[in-house]
């Protein structure tokens, strides 16, 4: 919540010589964040961010109190002068009877007055306009002025237009139609707080906005000045669901002090008398079923010092609290603090009191200390994040660019049956409704979003999500990539995956015909299924691998092989086989013939002929041509037998 106010308005309640800049700087350090200070004539305008737990600071008086406390604790003279709100004399007559529902409204204060509608004085108009409220006429302006000074919204009805003996507070009903004072029609969802007149017409949407049928006009002669302290949760719900976010609604959805309601009434009456020729014509109505409970919090000095990290003197601590409106005293080794009614919404426990002391003492006055490491904790170097980073770096240096795509996808981009999809109940748009179970559609979209690029190499490591029978979904870290390039070759992608896994210390990578059909390959580490390479087009290939299996297998373990002392013998062997025969099966068969074959690899393929490069080596002695010839015969006969191979 932001609050804008004039320095001169603030200083009506804080007597100090401190400059606006100084006040702004110190408030930021110890209280609210002053986001800007702007010069306006001879005056300054503060732009202040107030956190939602401190609605009491959405007021001139609240800020004046904090300002005085902060200045004093920085050794700058300052005095908070709080006005006294004393109820005026009134006639005994009651013009409207209000029937409250204590479940809906904590307190209602109201009074009827005769007024004269006209322009407000310039001072009022200026102050309101700087605070972001457009001046309308004096009768309306008073309601806003009171809200700004005290931090409690107020409302005013045209008493004649209201034309009722009773005002009944009840819940709004689903389907009821209202027209707010900005001439907009709304259909209630039920559960709002409304006021109803004798004829059953809704005349107010409490805490949020007045209605067109009872609003003050230029012809208004009599008003009902009306302050309602409402159930904050109902206000939040109604304001959000109807989409009416007035200043009043934003305040009323926080815990406002009901004691302020009466002060607001008294202050408003005074203002009507001053600027609207106001005259009270009824008794003051004060219905107050839900009284604020008294709250006391105790905290020991030991605890204060332990949490803050330095020793604070008891007197200093006590002053911090009393300056903020607490009734505090020291008893033995602790502080006993009675919480002011405007703070009961945010002060609950010892730590809340410590915060008040610490911030007024000044966080900037505390030293910077690293937390001591008291225990020896071993550090795991090659954790999952190490492997993830290493993988990303490898892909980067192989020309891939990393993308981050959204975890949620549209129905169109979701793969598989929708009843298995993890569905977002309240999506922002239909583009983000299902938690994805594959990264590929997102990556393909990224490719198509970059139409001007002929060559695209992208990858992503992210979670995919699968429903479980009971409990949270399985989140599976997944590595996927897409390559778009003219005449792309399957083996380039196979190579990327092989080299990547090799770099992660994984040796037993296998490629098999694709499980799901199509053109491509299924990738395995031994029997663990990793994922797929899919050839989608002559210029488009994707791959998707279960990165968690990779993480389980990745290792920094090092092995050293013995160097061969004796020279190898190499030869090439051309085999004619049926075209469908897998190279890997042939190599496995060749290798199986003798332990002296240290390597067999495919050198060339031409039509039905595959040429293998074979390396023979004996680690014990020099190999002879005769020995390798014997092995070759074994290879030839086994390939003939098992694969009906012929030889040239």
């Amino acid at each position: 919540m932001n609050f804008k106010l004039l320095d001169s308005w603030l200083k009506e309640y804080v007597k100090t010589d401190a400059s606006a800049q100084e006040i702004g700087r110190l408030l930021s350090l110890s209280s609210v964040s002053v986001e800007g200070i702007e010069k306006k004539g001879n005056d300054f305008v503060y732009d202040i961010e107030v956190t939602t737990n401190r609605p009491d600071l959405m007021s001139i008086l609240g800020l004046a109190r904090e300002t005085a406390a902060v200045l004093k604790n920085n050794n700058i003279k300052a005095l908070f002068s709080k006005p006294k709100f004393i109820a005026p004399q009134t006639p005994k007559e009651n013009l409207v009877e209000i029937k409250n529902d204590p479940k809906l409204v904590n307190r209602i204060c109201a009074v009827a007055m005769e007024v004269k509608v006209k322009q407000s004085p310039n001072l009022v108009k200026d102050r309101l306009e700087t605070s972001g409220v457009r001046g309308l006429n004096n009768v309306i302006d008073v309601t806003n002025y009171v809200m700004k000074v005290l931090g409690h919204p107020t409302h005013v009805f045209d008493l004649d237009r209201l034309n009722t003996k009773t005002l009944i507070i009840r819940e709004g009903r689903k389907g009821e139609i209202i027209k707010t004072l900005d001439e907009k029609q709304h259909i209630l969802n039920g559960g709002e707080i409304v006021a109803v007149n004798d004829r059953g017409e809704i005349v107010d949407l409490l805490g949020i906005m007045g209605l067109q049928n009872s609003v003050v006009t230029k012809d208004t002669k009599k008003i009902l000045f009306f302050i309602d302290n409402n159930d904050k949760l109902r206000i939040r719900k109604a304001s959000m669901s109807l989409g009416i976010r007035t200043d009043a609604a934003v305040l009323n959805e926080k815990a406002l002090d009901p004691n302020l309601a009466f002060d607001a009434l008294v202050y408003g009456i005074k203002l009507y008398e001053e600027i609207a020729d106001g005259m009270i014509i009824s008794d003051i109505i004060d219905i107050y079923p839900n009284k604020v409970e008294e709250k006391v919090v105790n905290v020991s000095f030991e605890k204060i010092n332990k949490v803050i990290g330095v020793k604070i003197s008891p007197d200093k601590a006590l002053n911090c609290l009393t300056d903020l409106g607490f009734e505090a005293r020291i008893e033995r080794n602790q502080i006993i603090a009675k919480v002011p009614t405007f703070r009961t919404g945010d002060i609950e426990i010892e730590e809340d009191i410590i915060e008040e002391i610490a911030r007024i003492y000044g966080y900037h006055n505390l030293p910077d200390v690293l937390p001591p490491q008291q225990e020896v904790v071993p550090h795991r170097f090659d954790d999952e994040f190490y492997w993830e980073e290493r993988t990303k770096q490898a892909l980067k240096y192989w020309g891939f660019t990393e993308v981050y795509t959204y975890s949620f996808v549209s129905e169109e981009m979701y793969e598989g049956p929708l009843d298995e999809a993890i569905t977002i109940q309240n999506p922002l748009t239909m583009d983000f409704i299902y938690m994805r179970n594959t990264l590929i559609p997102s990556l393909l979209k990224a490719v198509s979003d970059n139409k001007t690029y002929d060559k695209v190499k992208i990858f992503e490591i992210a979670n995919v999500y699968f429903k479980t029978k009971r409990g949270l979904p399985d989140e599976v870290l997944t590595l996927s990539g897409v390559v778009k390039k003219e005449k792309i070759n399957f083996f380039e992608i196979k190579g990327v995956i092989e080299q990547l896994l090799h770099d992660l210390g994984i040796k037993e990578t296998k490629f098999k015909n694709p499980r799901k059909g199509g053109i491509g390959a299924s990738v395995y580490i031994e029997d663990d299924y990793l994922g797929e390479i899919e050839v989608l087009d002559t210029n488009l290939i994707d791959f998707e691998l279960n990165f968690e299996i990779i993480l389980r297998r990745a290792t920094l373990k090092k092995e050293m092989k013995v160097f061969a002392k004796y020279p190898p013998i190499t030869e090439d062997l051309s085999v004619v086989v049926e075209k469908e025969t897998n190279t890997e099966e042939l190599i496995d068969e060749i290798k199986a013939q003798s332990h002296l074959i240290v390597e067999a690899s495919l050198k060339d393929t031409y039509e039905n002929t595959k040429t293998f490069h074979i390396i023979y080596q004996d680690f014990e002695k020099n190999l002879t041509k005769e020995e390798t010839a014997k092995i070759r015969e074994k290879i030839v006969s086994s390939l003939k037998r098992k694969f009906s191979a012929s030889f040239k």
Binding site: S28, D346, L366, V369, Q374, D449, E475
Partner: protein, 344 residues
Amino acid sequence: MEENLLSIKNAALSLILDAKDDKMLEEIKLQFLGRSGQLTLAIKEITKVPVEERKEIGILANEVKQTIEEALNEQEKILSKKRKQIIFERIDVTNPSVKPPLGHLHLVTQAIEEISAIFSKIGFERVRYPEVEWDWYSFGALNFPQNHPARDEWETFFIKESPHEKYGAMLLTPHTSSGQIREMERKKPPIRMLNIAKTYRRQSDISHVPMFHQFEGLVVDKDIAITHLKGTLDYFVRSFFGKDRKSRIRPYHFQFTEPSFEVDVSCGVCNGKGCKVCKAGWLELGGAGMVHPNVLRAGKIDPNEYSGFAFGFGPERCMMMKEGLKIEDLRILYSNNLDFLEQF
């Protein structure tokens, strides 16, 4: 014999001078000095020379061998020099190079890697916890009241699943703070956690994206005080943004910390004097605070024995603040526009 040696020498020298490259030189060397080279064979013949002439012939043969070897070396040097001259004369160094492939890591990854390294040095252990979580971990255990606005369906994404009887609704983590409770369940103090993860909120405009990242630090140990949080933040700020930058904490409000702070970094553009980029010399970094006793209790840690601090910042924001990147619309980070990604 003498004549033979001299003619071998002359033949060799003229061939050597004519040699155009190293390969030819190598052949010449073999032709004369190799195992069955002309000079080698001639030297073998020396045994057939009468004894009294043998010494003189021997000396001559050695001279011839030396001369040929020197000529070979000399010519090799000349050739090498020439070769280099040719290369250097021909190079236009402004022509395009042949580059090894080089891709790009996303800005978010780059930020995460830096942040992880910085915190690893002071003993923070990186962890990963669910992105799809129960209400309990995201709100309930973090001291959010039942009707807190963050629990509204206007702010948090909920999953269409029946709620857990103990842990409540299923949702997408709106902050990394859910990791605080997970971490407390996983291990006992001392805790020094760094949880970097995707987070989700129902918002999308030029300064908000529905999916973004956070990094969450959590320290729980005996006697952890506000001064320790200040020290840790100061260490991070000066490591990440530069040693001359300053940090400060200001009062703020969060449900799961008490006291709560907002953390600022001194502006790198104006060095804290105040400029257009910053607010009076400071830039907002994110939130922090002392772990609320109710949160410790929810994590089964006794708040009378232990205390802690936590902070949560956005790596996206940190990276932009560090580099002074002015990204007009934050959504471009996740738009996967290659024109953007390939700049970093």
